[in-house]
Amino acid sequence: MIPAAFDYHRPADIASAVALLQELGDDARPLAGGHSLIPMMKLRMASVEYLIDLQDIDELRGISVSDGIVSIGAMTTQHDLITDAALAEAAPIMREAALQIADPQVRYVGTLGGNVANGDPGNDMPGLMQCLDATFTLVGPGGSRDVAARDFYEAAYMTAREDDEILTRVTFAAPTGGYAYEKQKRKIGDYATAAAAIQMTRDDGLCSSAAIALTNLSDVPVFAKAAGAALVGTSCDASAVTAAISAALGEIDPTEDNRGPVEFKLHVAGIVILRAIERAWSRT
């Protein structure tokens, strides 16, 4: 379990990190918490010649909430997401989801930026970011650009990020209404068999908006637009919820793996979506 040899760099600011990525080319990789990348390197499933450790770049850290906008630096850890009072107030779904990721040791080091940049369909934050309609800021040699979470994921481990870009920040409008992150896993510390993120609002007894996104049910996170639409204008009664679930199941494409066959995944998906809708609605 020893990875192949590499050179290690620890730049102090974003510009130096980007310059290193540009100079060293596609054999170089950013290193955040390392809790997805290092296991892959140990298995020799990721080949990396140059590791660019981002830990000394202070401007990549921290959570701010102002004027209804939540902005989170890429190197903010899952532990920070759980303990930040302002974030728990502005977007409690972040805490609810982060508490369901891995175990305490992993959450102390695993970062939001690493979780969303990784591109592993098993990661929990990408679906949540799509639910919240978050924006990712990427900084490369040509400057900075913003990409919507809903447009970022192309295939497993393939994202809109270029090899010489660093994901610096995640931004979203503080959500209103009810929320839930519902995840089914085989044991604590496991990735999702299926998970659903939902934010919804109620107006005069009827659902006025609903955003639903799903984790580990396709090779990318899935923003289930039709499922959200099926709830809007209803009182979230049983028939509306059934319609939303069947719309969501139509948008996913799970594959058989060690978490079960396709039929089981579809079954679990239906249940996590049902529970997520019920909990979120009860919180509106």
Partner: protein, 163 residues
């Protein structure tokens, strides 16, 4: 891929070690520095036997490169107590039968130590949730949880007595 000089403060003592960037912290601790308290259970980030305290956080040292820890302060089980002067947690594990083979115990106690620093008065559920990154193949966990709760009570009583 030249070797690096890595500076670590381990259990309060400054140390320098020469290591390749790809060397994992657990290997450097055990094989280069003779700090064999943290164990290697799975080497795949799952069992927590390799847990050390790194800059005030419990981490699995099989999933950290020593290079990442350059400049860090590390506490291992050796830094918490010794056979002549057991830490409250060690004493409590002994009294409440919190170990059988003892393989997971250094990781358990190192993690429990950080948990109690952050939450000195945890409920049983909080102990179970906070210890979820550490596996034990022997005890069935009941006595580990009991040991940690008893240690918390004892540490709080000592704290009150001191005030």
């Amino acid at each position: 891929m030249s070797k690096m000089h890595i500076q670590l403060t381990i259990n309060g003592e400054a140390q320098e070690v020469l290591a390749e960037p790809r060397e994992l912290l657990i290997h450097v601790l055990r094989e280069k520095l003779g700090v064999t308290g943290p164990h290697i259970g799975c080497e795949t980030s799952h069992c927590g036997a390799c847990t050390v305290d790194l800059n005030g956080k419990s981490v699995k040292s099989c999933t950290v490169f020593a290079a990442q820890a350059n400049g860090a302060e590390i506490t291992t089980i050796e830094g918490l107590g010794n056979p002549d002067d057991l830490h409250v947690l060690q004493q409590s594990f002994r009294e409440h039968h919190g170990l059988q083979c003892g393989f997971c115990t250094p990781g358990m106690i190192t993690r429990a130590h950080r948990l109690l620093q952050e939450n000195p008065n945890p409920t049983e559920a909080e102990v179970r949730f906070g210890m979820a990154g550490n596996l034990c193949r022997c005890t069935g966990y009941q006595n580990i949880v009991k040991s940690i709760l008893a240690a918390a009570a004892e540490m709080n009583a000592a704290q009150e007595a001191a005030e």
